[in-house]
Amino acid sequence: MRLSMPRFMISEHPFPWLFPLIAMLLVFAVFPLAYNIYLSFHEFAIAKRSLVFVGWENWLKLFSDTRLYNALVINITYTVVCLTVQLVLGFLIALLLDTDEKGFGVMRALFSLALVIPPAVTGMMFKMMEDPQFGMIAWALEKLHILSREVPILATSELALAGVMIADIWQWTPFITLIFLAGMRGLPKEPFESAVIDGASQWKITTRFTIPMLSKVIAVAVLIRGIDLFRTFDYIYVMTSGGPGIQTYTLSFYTWKQFATSLKWGYGATLSLLALIIINVAATVLIKLAKIKW
């Protein structure tokens, strides 16, 4: 029986098991990466319809590109603001829900609903709700005397990014809440009970016990959400297309624009490598600091 099986199946060596994965990664991760590095030293010449070697030109351009600077500022603003709001809101909602045992299943189901909507569709949904003429959010803001409907949220330079962030925050706060809730469920009960007996206030219990004990959970949430926020594209594409002007150009969107509209394949590749380097460095530091293990 055993002899009739192909040799790789009875092997003790990990390679046969990993072979499909390695092949896939070589073709679809390592090769694109190498191709990107190659492209970053070339540029598509529209007149010649071919790639020409340009040396370090694309890389040097990174230092003088004001639009890139603009995109990086927007990216960092977007990531930091969304992450902070989502963590704080997610944590608070999780604290509120943690007490209720029975409703947990229902809430979890409702929360996961937001996760299965394609971000592009969420973007369209919020674009409609923020529409100055018939949008619900624009209308509510006017009723609350916060913002007149004469100011279109997604077409005003100071507000457009916030308008996009609302969609992101709405869609991904439940994700953070779910993670925190799971984390809180896993905490030991004893320290909390003794703290209550000692007469500690709710605030003290939260800051002294819950948050420190959840530090690993928080780190994982920051890591996964941070990576995705830094790569944001869908919301920008459907809601503002980077506008007004270049006010909502994230790094991903700028890269895509360079590639698809300006046909600057080489520079686009250079930008995407820059994004990869930033994410990789930041994520590695976080993983090391928080000792996240897989």
């Binding site: 990990p14 990664l25 189901a109 299965v116 569709v121 890269t255 686009g268």
Partner: protein
């Protein structure tokens, strides 16, 4: 409340006539429901064939294509195809990473994790250029392969965390009894880890189902998945919100049913197995 309101509102848009959509304050309950958008999107009953009366009320402006079943089929082919592929590859790899110890294992795991950090656009540019030359551009297979790679880190790391739950002593006992790794895989790991594999599959399905950028960049006219197809409702003469909402709702239902099935392992899945519930 804030959570549910936008979704509820979106569902109402898919069954409201334009005169009830474009009014403020928003009509959340008192409106006359209509299934016309769903008919247009799912049954290809174009607004022209519907009664003139209702056409006026619906205000199908802008024309354009509203029949979206082919797009749903594209989405299903791609999501199912890439899910099967990624789960197969990842199950094998996760088994090796969980059971067989080898040199540089940690580095290998980190390498897999770092593919998660690749911005999609960084992969999509080279793939676009390569696909053009090898003829994978604008094909289902091309997108399936791209989505497979996108989901590999999630699937491998999550499955590894599930497989790690099976105590190593069982392996050792089996090896003493003369079992090979393949037998351990088939007789012990696969049967006990059915739910874990199912949870992984569902998450991969959903991430493929909702993915936007690869489909946008790697396809032209041949196929489109639902997220990209929604942009077809944005026409030069205005956006067909009703049809757009109807498609959004239609696409939401299967994904939601799937995710309800894996509720228990959801958090673990979303954190790629680094947090256990």
């Amino acid at each position: 409340m804030t959570m549910v309101l936008p979704i509820y509102f979106w569902i109402t848009v898919s069954i409201k006539r334009d005169k009830d959509v474009f009014v403020l304050p928003p009509k959340l309950f008192r409106f006359e429901p209509t299934a016309d958008y769903f008919k247009a999107v799912l049954l290809d009953i174009s607004p022209v064939e519907q009664s003139i009366e209702s056409r006026g009320a619906l205000g199908f402006s802008g024309g354009g294509i509203t029949y979206m079943v082919p797009r749903l089929v594209d989405s299903i082919i791609i999501a199912v195809g890439s899910t099967i592929l990624v789960v197969t590859i990842a199950t094998l790899a996760a088994f090796a990473l969980s059971r067989i110890h080898f040199r540089a294992q940690h580095h290998f795991v980190y390498l897999i994790l770092s593919t998660r950090m690749l911005p999609p656009v960084a992969v999509a540019i080279p793939l676009f250029l390569t696909y053009k030359t090898v003829g994978l551009y604008d094909t289902h297979l091309g997108v399936i392969l791209a989505h497979t790679v996108m989901n590999i880190p999630l699937a491998v790391l999550l499955l590894k965390s599930f497989f790690d739950d099976v105590p190593l002593e069982i392996d050792e006992a089996a090896i003493i009894d003369g079992a090979t790794y393949w037998e351990i895989f088939r007789r012990i790991i696969l049967p006990t880890m059915r739910t874990g594999i199912a949870a992984t599959a569902v998450l991969c399905f959903i991430f493929s189902w909702t993915e936007f950028l690869f489909v946008l960049m790697l396809t032209a006219t041949g196929l489109k998945t639902v997220p990209v197809a929604t942009s077809a409702f944005v026409t030069s003469t205005g956006t067909q919100w009703g049809s757009l909402a109807a498609l959004g709702v239609a696409a939401l239902i299967p994904a939601f049913i799937f995710i309800l099935l894996v509720q228990k392992n959801l958090v673990r899945g979303l954190t790629m197995g680094s947090l256990k519930q």
